[in-house]
Amino acid sequence: MSFDKAQQKIALTLFVVGLVSATLLAFVDKWTAGPIAEAQRQALHQSLLQVLPEHANDPLQDMFLFPMSKQENLKVFPAKDKKGVVVAYAWQQVAPDGYSGTIKVLMGVRVSGEVAAIRVVFHKETPGLGDGIVKNTAWLNSFIDKTLSNAKWLVKKDGGDFDQFTGATISPRAVVKAVHQGLIFYKTNQADMLKRAHAPAMNMDKEGDKP
């Protein structure tokens, strides 16, 4: 393989272009790394704010992992008051039985076991039918303050306390079921959770931000 002048030029040009570009990018990356992390944190915080009651801490900072099974850990975001006492938790609950696939619900639960608020963060339901679970605020608000005991965790059609909306029963049903299970989960693991929430050593590195 012999390279004459022209061919050396070809190779070198690309090399130079690559060198310059990569250097530029390296610097830009260094420059933006901080702001990006901050922006991502902000974004997450925003959604947590919607489901958590007023708090004084940074729930992201205080996030801890709660073991669900051997392999799986649940990311729990605690809300604490000024004194550092946990007032509520937020975590993501998965409803596998939506009309067209899984629905992911971010739920906030007060320490006392009432639902603080819920938000649907991911779904594939039919636009115009199932997507009421995101858009229908009244329906979402109907979950507030519900506990395991003060509500019947079924949609009205099945004899429960939660509305379905016209044309869609399955999606609400799936969400109601998921939130219900979340509450049950909380009830059984209440003590453990509290323990972990107050263990300062459990604070995590900032990895794995997104809920």
């Binding site: 690559g18 570009s21 990569a22 990018l25 830009v28 990356d29 009309y99 067209s100 696939g101 899984t102 594939k124 039919t126």
Partner: protein, 193 residues
Amino acid sequence: MTEFGIILLSAVLVNNYVLTKFLGICPFLGVSGKLETAIGMSFAVMFVMTLASTASWIIQQLILIPFDIMYLQTVFFILIIAALVQFVEMVMHKTSPVLYQGLGIFLPLITTNCAVLGVAILNVQQDYSFFASVLYGFGAAVGFGLVLVLFSGLRERLEAAPIPEVFKGSPITLITAGMMALAFMGFAGLVKV
């Protein structure tokens, strides 16, 4: 096995690159005028997209993740894809003129289209295994080819139709693409995610 089947079905029909993901629209509109061209293009795209998803998987796993330089993802992918395509084109031109006649002329066109870079990026986002990601790339390309060929058939028919002057050309082409997308909505939910 079913997992692979689902990846394929999803990429070909349900999440069709052109009609639901909006990737590769330019060649979809540009080379669908004639059936023969569309078929040639489809095969070329299948080749390049499979190649691209393979290459991107390798780069992602061997370079980007180990060195933690995710911010160079775009530059890496596009450079590798462009270079690979150009190599292949030149080699094909020399060694197999017949194949070049059929596919080669489309290759440069493909380098710079969203579907190819899109398949690379989406692919690594999905954390597939190597084989699954190759299959995903192939499936996406098959989906692209399928609608491209169907579309070219329709367009050949439109050619002879007395379409109102204002709608001749790109407007009616896009409306037809819209109708196809409508029809493809029927596949929604075939694959539960």
